[in-house]
C-alpha cells in the first residue's frame, strides 16, 4: 500500500483513525501493521495489501 491510503482508511469496527507501523517499505509499504488509535485493534499489511477485515472474519 501507498502511504496516501492513510488519508482515507480507518478502523472497520469503530471508524477511528489508524496508526501505521512499517516493517518493510520499498516504493510502498509491503509489511507492517495498522493499529486503531481508539480500540487498539491491529490489522496486518502483508505483501503490500492491508487486511482490514473485521478480526472475526480474518480467518
Amino acid at each position: 500500500m501507498k502511504r496516501d491510503l492513510m488519508d482515507i482508511v480507518c478502523c472497520p469496527l469503530d471508524k477511528h483513525d489508524l496508526e501505521l507501523d512499517v516493517d518493510v517499505e520499498e516504493d510502498e509499504v509491503l509489511e507492517g501493521t495498522l493499529t486503531c488509535t481508539d480500540c487498539g485493534e491491529t490489522y496486518p499489511i502483508e505483501d503490500g495489501i492491508p487486511n482490514l477485515l473485521p478480526p472475526d472474519m480474518r480467518d
Binding site: M1, K2, D4, L5, D7, I8, V9, C10, C11, P12, L13, K15, D27, E28, Y43, E46, D47, G48, I49, P50, N51, L52, L53, P54, M57, D59
Partner: protein, 226 residues
C-alpha cells in the same frame, strides 16, 4: 462457507480472469456513465481481478481502490498492475474501512448481492461517499433474470435476489437518492444460430437473446445526499 473461503478458492482456480472477460461486456457501459473527474478518489467493491479499478484509473482519477473480502483475489488483482495510484484492500462490505465522505464515486459489478446485509452495506457506502457521490451497482443476479436464479445452488455464500423495484426501494431505505436504473444489454456475447439450440444453458435462441440482449445487467445508480 465464508466469502473468504469461497472466493479465495475461485482466485486460486483463476476464475477471476474468466469473470473479467465476461463481465467487461456490460461493466464497461456502466463505468463509461460514471461522472468521475480528474483527481477523484474512487472505490470498486468486490473488485475480483481489479479490472474495473484499473479502468477507472485510466479515466485520470487521482486514486482508485479495489476492496475485496478474499485475500487471494486482492493478491491477484495487485499482481495485474503496477500503477502506484491503484491500490487494493482486503475488507468486508458490511464494515468498510474508509472514513466518512472520503470517496467520490463507487462501483460494483456482480458482487453486491453477496453482502451479508445489503441495507447495511448501502448505509456504509452512503457514509463513505461525499455528498453527491454516486454508487454504480451492477448485477446479473436479479429477480427478473430468471436465468440467473440457479446460481445460488452452486455457491455456498448466501445471495440476495432483489427485483428492480427492490433495488430502488433498498437504495432509498438506506438513504440514497435513486438517479437511474437500466438494463445494460450484453451486445458482445456471441449468440449461436437457432439450429444450435437447445444448448447446455438455453432451450431456445429466444431465451439466450432475452438473457443477454434484453435483461443483461441491472444497473442501479444511487447518489449520496448531504
Amino acid at each position: 462457507m465464508s466469502v473468504r473461503e469461497e472466493f479465495d478458492a475461485w482466485a486460486a482456480e483463476g476464475r477471476d480472469k474468466g469473470m473479467e472477460d465476461r463481465h467487461w461486456h456490460t461493466a464497461k457501459q456502466a463505468l463509461a456513465r460514471m461522472p468521475v473527474e480528474a483527481g477523484d478518489t474512487v472505490l470498486d467493491l468486490g473488485t475480483g481481478s481489479g479490472y474495473a479499478t484499473r479502468a477507472l484509473r485510466e479515466r485520470d482519477v487521482g486514486r482508485a481502490y479495489g476492496l475485496d473480502g478474499a485475500p487471494e483475489m486482492a493478491r491477484n488483482a495487485r499482481s495485474y498492475t503496477d500503477d502506484g495510484n491503484v491500490g487494493f484492500v482486503v475488507g468486508d462490505f458490511g464494515s468498510l474501512p474508509f472514513a466518512d465522505d472520503s470517496i467520490d464515486h463507487a462501483f460494483s459489478m456482480e458482487a453486491f448481492y453477496y453482502s451479508d446485509d445489503p441495507i447495511e452495506t448501502l448505509e456504509e457506502l452512503r457514509r463513505v461517499l461525499r455528498p453527491g457521490g454516486t454508487f454504480y451497482c451492477a448485477v446479473d443476479f436479479f429477480e427478473e433474470n430468471t436465468y440467473s436464479h440457479g446460481w445460488q445452488d452452486t455457491i455456498e455464500v448466501d445471495m440476495t435476489l432483489w427485483s428492480k423495484q427492490e433495488y430502488r426501494d433498498g437504495f432509498r431505505d438506506a438513504g440514497f437518492y435513486v438517479a437511474e436504473q437500466d438494463n445494460l444489454a450484453d451486445r458482445d456475447v456471441e449468440i449461436p444460430p437457432a439450429s444450435e439450440f437447445p444448448t447446455e444453458h438455453y432451450d431456445t435462441r429466444e431465451d439466450m437473446v432475452e438473457r443477454y440482449r434484453v435483461l443483461g445487467t441491472l444497473l442501479t445508480v444511487g447518489v449520496a445526499p448531504e
